[in-house]
């Protein structure tokens, strides 16, 4: 593995470049096809509202995948991500309009471990509210 960030250059508190991502309805359709998760609440407004949701919601695993990019794009080698965990705290509501939902993802080095590993704490927000809590990734730097 070949991370492009050196362990020696990183300190606790180092901020990763943030990402701003737009999520639109067609992204959920594409993710459904690629992942195999065709749960109807991720594409039918009729059913989503029937079960009490405000509108169609994004797959939690889609949000988790997007949030990982803040780490993999920083480290340069996606294979350097060793451990990744999240809690889904709030659904990402995706209206069927041009704006969709706007997800902001940031990351900060929380801890330096042995073996050139660091723990990154990840924040993912829509409209200022966290959609993931306790999101952490352990990556091996070079």
């Amino acid at each position: 593995m070949a991370a492009q960030v050196r362990f020696a250059d990183v300190e606790v508190g180092t901020e990763l470049p943030a990402l701003s991502l737009s999520i639109q309805r067609w992204n959920l359709i594409q993710y459904a096809g690629a992942s195999g998760d065709f749960n109807i609440i991720h594409w039918s407004e009729r059913i989503a509202t029937l079960v009490g949701l405000p509108n169609v919601i994004a797959h939690g695993m889609y949000t988790m995948a997007l949030a990982a990019r803040v780490v993999t794009e920083w480290v340069g080698d996606p294979g350097a991500l060793l451990d990744y965990s999240v809690r889904f705290s709030r659904p990402v509501v995706v209206p069927d309009d041009e704006a969709g939902a706007s997800l902001t993802v940031s990351g900060r080095v929380e801890e330096k471990l042995d073996d050139q590993r660091v723990v990154v704490v990840i924040t993912a927000e829509v409209d200022g509210s966290s959609v993931l809590t306790g999101a952490r990734a352990t990556v091996r730097l070079s």
């Binding site: 889609y62 988790m64 993999t72 996606p78 889904f88």
Partner: protein, 153 residues
């Protein structure tokens, strides 16, 4: 109806092998908007020290949908799908997933507990190659809304 607590500790037989396809990795990477060349170009992946194109960190979610989990399909567990919400997810990668891997998943229900009016069930899946090489440990916590046993008193 509460989940059947007898299922804690129960393991289920390994799934049929799932072969990781090059085009499926590309399709998954496109769906998450990730343009990294290691997902598409074997030479770029090799330059990073991998034997072939690798899959994005959350790609193994596809195995759960292509090889549905025997653990939660057993009617004796008493799971009501319509009440199920994804609570937590964790991937502990022992090595990256590489195109051509033939993976099997062996799942265990590791915990069932009550949280307020809900129940939380933890399923741990060991993903290995057919030959038994560890690839990833995937932990999934699902929330079943409103099924907690009614407390006496």
């Amino acid at each position: 109806m509460p989940l059947n607590p007898d299922f804690v500790g129960r393991s289920f037989p390994p799934s049929e092998p799932y072969e990781v396809g090059r085009e499926h990795i590309r399709e998954f990477a496109a769906a998450i908007g990730d343009t990294h060349p290691a997902y598409r170009d074997a030479a770029a992946a090799r330059a990073l020290g991998h034997s072939d194109v690798i899959a994005p960190p959350t790609f193994l979610t596809v195995v759960a949908f292509r090889r549905p989990n025997a653990a939660i399909a057993d009617p004796d567990l008493g799971l009501d799908y319509s009440r199920l919400v994804h609570g937590e997810q964790r991937f502990t990668h022992h090595r990256p997933v590489v195109a051509g891997d033939r993976l099997v998943s062996t799942s265990t229900i590791t915990d069932i507990r009550v949280a307020g009016r809900n129940e939380l069930m933890t399923i741990t899946s060991e993903i290995t190659t057919e030959a038994g090489e560890p690839v990833s440990t995937v932990t999934n916590v699902v929330v079943i809304r409103g099924t907690a046993p009614v407390q006496a008193g």
